[in-house]
């Protein structure tokens, strides 16, 4: 599938949850399939931390660069683009094309950098609603995402109940735990204490806080994998013939984490990383309802599919069951899958016949 990235510009200011105002913004997006005459077959796909609007397919001039959820979305795939019109989007504050810290601040003519406001899941969803208006989509057949993408899918059902028929919430949590926030704070501290960070204004100085970013990514990676998956993949295998009794790479896992960290630091923006982790920390739809998630869900009218993975300790099945409980309390239509998968949080990106089979069956039952 050959795809094309596009941008939509919005001149109307966007008031953010923090109170800050984004005077104008752009959203990078891609679409796959065809919007039907009734405009009833649109599915919005929301991405997680380091992904983008490039959900599926490949660009004509870059055939190797497959979309991050190409195993899920495409012709004949579980989310079948022969039947559905799928919209991939890049959330604001990101560094892959939508307005973010690397964009030019219209007030100063220079990159936003540290001055780019802290954005939240709520803000992402408000911006996506503008994109839906722009594309002429009044109501999505489904909004779908994994991890941070799942928070968006969930929040869509709360913020715009009339605009979502199905919310597909995968590897999710209704709020971060203290441990989750703790990991995020370590990652932020790694970035902000990097001498090349310059208080977030590193673009002007030609600097990149790469050391901080790579440590942030290394920590993140540990939380995406299960203990078992890591042991299976790397074990205690050494990279060299014998232990070196020094601080070079001894174990395979060290090599892997350093490689992942270096790769990430070469393309990801540190200011974006800080903001995404904050968006995660702040997400708590029950917060306005005294912590009562069931009350928060009283607004929802969508049907839900909730999916978790048994070995996911970052957002464990217990977190997903809290969502299910809140939906049951509101007598919503909901199905819940707990896939016995060994890979940890990252399982939502992988191909598993039970997981993909269930999603295929679920989408097939969505009337158009």
């Amino acid at each position: 599938m050959i795809v094309e990235a596009r941008k939509a510009s919005f001149g109307e200011p966007l008031r953010l949850r923090s109170g800050a105002v984004l005077p104008e913004f752009e959203i990078a997006y891609e679409t796959y399939g065809t919007l039907n005459a009734a405009r009833s077959n649109a599915v919005l796909v929301c991405h997680a931390l380091n992904a983008s609007h490039h959900v599926a397919g490949a660009y004509a001039d870059d055939p190797e660069n497959l979309g991050w959820w190409d195993n899920m979305v495409g012709p004949g795939k579980p989310l079948d683009t022969d039947r559905f019109f799928v919209v991939g989007n890049n959330y604001i504050g990101s560094c892959f094309g939508s307005t973010g810290p690397t964009s030019i601040n219209p007030g100063t003519g220079r990159p936003w950098g540290a001055d780019f406001p802290v954005v939240t899941v709520e803000d992402w969803v408000a911006a996506q609603a503008r994109l839906a208006d722009f594309l002429g989509i009044e109501r999505f057949a489904a909004v779908m995402g994994g991890s941070i993408g799942a928070m968006q899918a969930l929040y869509w059902a709360l913020a715009y109940p009339g605009r979502v028929r199905h919310s597909i919430v995968i590897a999710a949590t209704p709020r971060l735990s203290a441990q989750n926030i703790g990991f995020n704070e370590v990652a932020r501290q790694a970035i902000m204490t990097d001498p090349d960070f310059h208080g977030g204004h590193y673009y002007d100085k030609g600097a990149v806080p790469a050391r901080g970013l790579r440590i942030a990514r290394m920590i993140g990676h540990i939380t995406y994998l299960s203990d078992d998956a890591m042991m299976e993949k790397f074990g205690r295998q050494l990279r060299r013939a014998a232990p070196g009794f020094d601080f070079d790479i001894d174990f395979e896992i060290e090599s892997y984490l350093r490689y992942q960290g270096d790769k990430f630091a070469s393309y990801f923006d540190a200011n974006t990383y800080l903001r995404i982790t904050k968006a995660l920390d702040y997400f708590d739809p029950a917060g306005d309802f005294g912590g009562d998630l069931s009350k928060a869900f009283a607004r929802a009218t969508a049907d839900f599919l909730v999916v978790s993975f048994t070995s996911d300790w970052r957002f464990s099945p217990a977190r997903s069951r809290e969502i299910v409980r809140a939906l049951l309390d509101n007598r919503r239509v909901v199905s819940y899958l707990e896939i016995d998968a060994p890979q940890g949080h990252d399982a939502f990106l992988l191909e598993d016949p039970r997981y993909h089979g269930a999603l295929r069956a679920y989408f097939a039952n969505i009337a158009l």
Binding site: V334, S335, E338, R354, A361, N365
Partner: protein, 191 residues
């Protein structure tokens, strides 16, 4: 007459139903189509969960052995446990949970007191294998088999009231000597 027909008769129109061990969801589908009763199924098996989604019924993939903590008190009119009781390890807590979550419970199970089972043990000296109990003793999901009398004694111990009982053998209703002549028992109970 089938077990499903019996259960359908007992479920009032538009009741809220929870079906524990719901299999492929066909009972839930019938409850919706014939009784307009919205329901949820609980099922652990991956293949059955997929069939439920294909059948367009609400299914929650959970292990009954973990209890029913996901469900609020009295959140259902009726909680069904169809031919699953004998495969549960801890039956007492589950039965109590069913009547915490629901106003009524419907429980069905193969009757171990059925004469064919008795004869296989008494005369053959072997664990029974039959249409109702098709497994070898060493390869069976059934860990706690019981008879009608056993189940009624447990209900009495738990303080449950038996509201109705239907006993079937080969699709026919059994009216006499049910504990001897009945292959499958279906109970409607309340707290």
């Amino acid at each position: 007459m089938t077990e499903a027909d019996t259960i359908l008769q007992w479920v009032a129109p538009r009741s809220r139903v929870l079906d524990l061990g719901c299999g492929d969801g066909s009972l839930l589908r019938r409850l919706w189509e014939e009784r307009q009763a919205p329901g949820y199924g609980v099922e652990i098996d991956d293949a059955h969960v997929l069939e439920c989604i294909r059948n367009d019924v609400n299914v929650l993939q959970m292990d009954l052995e973990d209890g029913l903590a996901t469900f609020a008190d009295r959140s259902f009119d009726c909680v069904i446990l169809s031919e699953t009781l004998q495969a549960i390890h801890r039956q007492e807590p589950l039965l109590k949970e069913m009547l915490r979550v629901g106003g009524e419970a419907i429980v069905s199970f193969p009757n171990f007191g059925y004469w064919r089972a008795r004869i296989q043990i008494a005369l053959g000296g072997r664990m029974p294998v039959s249409r109702e109990l098709p497994y070898q003793w060493y390869d069976t999901p059934n860990v706690h088999l019981c008879t009608l009398v056993d189940f009624e004694a447990l209900c009495a111990k738990l303080g449950f009231r038996v509201l109705e009982r239907v006993v079937l053998t080969g699709g026919r209703r059994v009216h006499y000597l049910a504990n001897l002549l009945g292959g499958l028992a279906i109970y409607r109970v309340s707290a």
